[in-house]
C-alpha cells in the first residue's frame, strides 16, 4: 500500500522469510471483509488443499463461519469438502477455534499454537496457523498482551517449520499497526506481500509493552511468607466472594492466586505482597515478590504436570485468568491476574 510504502519494501527474496525455510510469520492487513476472506483462504488453500498440511484457524467467532464456508468451497466455488485428490477430507485437516474465547487471555494463545504445531510438524508437513488475537474494541491492556503474544511467536517458533498468518483489521489504531510491522517480518497489504523494514528483535518489541501498571486506588493488602500462604488463600477466596465472583470463577481465582503466592515463596525470595482490588468489571490480584522473570516464554507452553519445573504455575494462571500481566521492576517481579465478574 502506498500509504505504508515508507516503512515497507517489496518482497523479492522469499527464501529466508517465506514458507520452506523456518518460521513463516506474515501479517495480513485487511480493509474489508472480502480482503480478509480472500487473504486468509488463499493462505489456507495453498497449505491444506495444495500441500495437505494441517491448519489451526483461531479468529474471532463471527469470522469463523464465513471463512469455513469459503474455504470448504475451494477456489472454483465448487464444494471441496470431500476427497481432494489425495484421499483426505480437507475439512478434517482444519481446526476452527473462536479466538474471543480461546484468546480471551492473550497469554494462553501461544500454548494453544505450540501444542498444535508440536503435534503436526514433521519433516514433510508444515502446520499452518491463522491467529487473530487483536480486534477493534479490545482494551488497551489486552491489546498490549495480544501484541506481546504476536512478538513471542517469533521466539517460540524460531527455526521451526511452521507458518503463522496474523490478520490485522486496518481499522485498528495506527499504534497497533506500527507494532505489527515491528513484529512481522512480512506484511501483506492490499494483496501485496512485502518485507517489513520495521521488523525488530522480538525481545525489544516485548520490552516496549512493559509499560508501568496503573496504581489502584484502595487495594486490599496482605503481606505473606510461607506461614501466611493459607491465610492469603483464604482471604483471597473470601474477598472474591464478597465481590460477587461466581463459585466457578472463584475456583479459578483461588487456583491462580495459590500458584502465584506459592511461587513467590518458592522462587521470589520467600515472601510477597498480595493486593486485590476491583477495576471496572474485573477483580485484579497483584502478587509482588523479589523474583525476576528471565524467560519471556515462561508459562506459554503446556507443561508436564508431573514436573515442578517449566512454568507450571504461570501456565495455570494464563489458562484460568482473563488477563495476566507480568512486569520486572527494580528488585521485584509483579504479576497481575484479572478475572471478569460475570
Amino acid at each position: 500500500m502506498t500509504t505504508h510504502s515508507r516503512t515497507t519494501t517489496y518482497f523479492r527474496q522469499p527464501p529466508d522469510r517465506g514458507p520452506g525455510s523456518g518460521l513463516f510469520h506474515p501479517a495480513l492487513f485487511y480493509r474489508s471483509d472480502q480482503e480478509y476472506l480472500d487473504g486468509v483462504c488463499r493462505f489456507l488453500r495453498v497449505a491444506v488443499h495444495g500441500r495437505g498440511d494441517r491448519a489451526l484457524v483461531a479468529v474471532p467467532g463471527r469470522r469463523l463461519e464465513p471463512l469455513r464456508a469459503l474455504f470448504e468451497r475451494g477456489e472454483d466455488g465448487a464444494e471441496r469438502g470431500r476427497p481432494d485428490g489425495t484421499g483426505h477430507d480437507v475439512r478434517e485437516r482444519v481446526t476452527w477455534v473462536d479466538m474471543e474465547e480461546a484468546g480471551r487471555n492473550p497469554g494462553r494463545v501461544l500454548s494453544l499454537f505450540r501444542e498444535f504445531a508440536d503435534r503436526h510438524e514433521t519433516s514433510e508437513s508444515r502446520p499452518v496457523i491463522v491467529g487473530e488475537p487483536l480486534w477493534v474494541g479490545r482494551g488497551p491492556a489486552e491489546t498490549r498482551e495480544a501484541l506481546r503474544h504476536q512478538a513471542l511467536v517469533n521466539l517460540a517458533f524460531a527455526g521451526r517449520r511452521v507458518s503463522v498468518l496474523c490478520p490485522y483489521d486496518a481499522a485498528l489504531s495506527e499504534d497497533v499497526l506500527t507494532q505489527a510491522r515491528r513484529i512481522h517480518p512480512v506484511v501483506t497489504e492490499g494483496g501485496t506481500r512485502r518485507i517489513s523494514r520495521d521488523y525488530a528483535d522480538p525481545l525489544d518489541v516485548c520490552a516496549s509493552f512493559d509499560t508501568p501498571l496503573p496504581e489502584p486506588a484502595d487495594p486490599f493488602v496482605i503481606d505473606f511468607g510461607e506461614h501466611e500462604l493459607a491465610l492469603a488463600r483464604g482471604t483471597a477466596e473470601d474477598w472474591a466472594s464478597r465481590c460477587g465472583l461466581s463459585p466457578a470463577r472463584r475456583t479459578d481465582w483461588l487456583l491462580a492466586i495459590g500458584e502465584a503466592t506459592g511461587n513467590s515463596v518458592r522462587h521470589g525470595g520467600g515472601q510477597g505482597t498480595l493486593r486485590m482490588w476491583r477495576s471496572g468489571n474485573s477483580l485484579v490480584a497483584e502478587i509482588r515478590d523479589g523474583g525476576r522473570l528471565t524467560d519471556p516464554l515462561v508459562g506459554r507452553r503446556r507443561p508436564d504436570p508431573r514436573s515442578p519445573h517449566g512454568g507450571r504455575g504461570v501456565w495455570i494462571m494464563h489458562q484460568l485468568c482473563d488477563l495476566v500481566e507480568m512486569r520486572n521492576e527494580p528488585g521485584a517481579l509483579v504479576l497481575r491476574l484479572h478475572m471478569t465478574v460475570d
Binding site: H227, A230, G234, T251, D252, L255, V265, P305, R312
Partner: protein, 290 residues
C-alpha cells in the same frame, strides 16, 4: 495465620481414651500428670507397660512413678514395666522406618501376651520428630498409618507424648491432627489436616493445600503408596483447595501402588478443575461422589 482457631475434632477427649492417642503437655508437671495414671492403670489391669523416652532421662520416669506411689522398681524387675529410650530401640537403625515399625508393634503385642500379660500399653516421646533424625520426615506417615495397620487390629493403647517445648507449633499441629483421640490443651488447626479414616485404608484431608503444606501432602502420598492391602481412599469433602503440586504428588503415589487404586471421595472443585487442565493426572485416580 490460621493457627489460632481450635478444632472441635482436636479438643480434649475424655480421660483414658483407648487406641492411638496424642498427648500434648507444656511442662514437667503436666507430663507427670499424664504419665502416672496411665502406668498405674495399666499395671492394675495386668497389662505390660512400655515407655520409650526421648528427651526425658529414663531414671526420671522411674523416679516420678515411684514418688507417686507406683512400685515401678518391682514392676520393672518383673517385666511388667519397661522404660527404655527410642535411641536404644526403634531409632537404633540407620533411619526411622514406618514399614518396620508396623511389624514391631505386632511382635510386641504377641510377646506381651505370650509372657502372660493381659495386654500392652505404651508411651512414646516423639520430640525426635522435630530434630534432624534420619527418617524423621516419615513421622507423620507413621502416625497416619498406625490407626489402620496397628490399632484397629490390636487391643493396644499407645499414647504419643508431644512436648510443646520441643516442637514448633505448626509441626505439632499437623502431627497431633493425625490422631483420632487427643489429650492435653487445645492444638491449633493446621492449614492442612490429615487424619486416618476409621475402618478403612485411607485418610481424610481437611483445609487448604498449597506450597506451605507440601510436607504434609508428601506424607499423605506416602500413605497412599505404602499402605498394604487393596484400594486406598482419600475423603476430600473437607478439602477446600489444593494446588497442582499437591495433586501431582497424589497422582504419582497412586501410580506407584502395587495393588489396588486410589479412590478420591467428594473431591473439591479445584481438584476437578485441575484434572480438566491435566487429564493425565487422573489416569490412576478413581473419583467418587458429587
Amino acid at each position: 495465620m490460621a493457627m489460632t482457631s481450635t478444632s472441635a475434632v482436636l479438643a480434649p477427649t475424655a480421660p483414658e481414651p483407648c487406641g492411638h492417642v496424642s498427648v500434648v503437655y507444656s511442662d514437667d508437671r503436666e507430663w507427670a500428670g499424664r504419665l502416672v495414671p496411665f502406668v498405674r492403670a495399666g499395671l492394675e489391669r495386668g497389662e505390660q507397660v512400655q515407655y520409650f523416652a526421648d528427651t526425658t532421662d529414663p531414671d526420671r520416669v522411674m523416679g516420678t512413678l515411684a514418688s507417686a506411689g507406683v512400685d515401678a522398681g518391682r514392676a520393672a524387675a518383673e517385666g511388667r514395666l519397661v522404660v527404655t529410650t527410642a535411641a536404644r530401640t526403634y531409632l537404633s537403625g540407620p533411619a526411622f522406618d514406618p514399614d518396620a515399625m508396623m511389624g514391631l508393634w505386632h511382635q510386641a503385642m504377641d510377646t506381651a501376651l505370650a509372657e502372660g500379660h493381659r495386654g500392652l500399653r505404651a508411651i512414646g516421646e516423639v520430640a525426635w520428630g522435630a530434630r534432624d533424625v534420619p527418617g524423621a520426615d516419615r513421622l507423620l506417615e507413621y502416625e497416619l498409618r498406625l490407626h489402620h495397620e496397628v490399632f484397629e487390629p490390636l487391643p493396644l493403647t499407645a499414647w504419643c507424648f508431644y512436648d510443646r517445648r520441643r516442637m514448633p507449633a505448626d509441626r505439632l499441629a499437623v502431627l497431633v491432627g493425625a490422631h483420632l483421640n487427643h489429650l492435653g490443651g487445645p492444638v491449633a488447626d493446621p492449614p492442612l489436616r490429615l487424619a486416618p479414616l476409621p475402618g478403612r485404608t485411607g485418610l481424610r484431608l481437611m483445609g487448604s493445600a498449597g506450597y506451605d503444606t507440601r510436607y504434609a501432602m508428601r506424607s499423605a502420598a506416602a500413605v497412599v503408596s505404602r499402605s498394604p492391602g487393596g484400594d486406598v481412599e482419600l475423603d476430600l469433602s473437607g478439602l477446600r483447595h489444593l494446588d497442582v503440586s499437591s495433586l501431582a504428588v497424589l497422582a504419582e503415589a497412586a501410580r506407584h501402588r502395587d495393588r489396588g487404586g486410589l479412590r478420591l471421595l467428594r473431591p473439591p472443585e479445584p481438584l476437578r478443575r485441575l484434572l480438566g487442565l491435566f487429564p493425565e493426572l487422573g489416569a490412576a485416580l478413581e473419583i467418587a461422589g458429587p
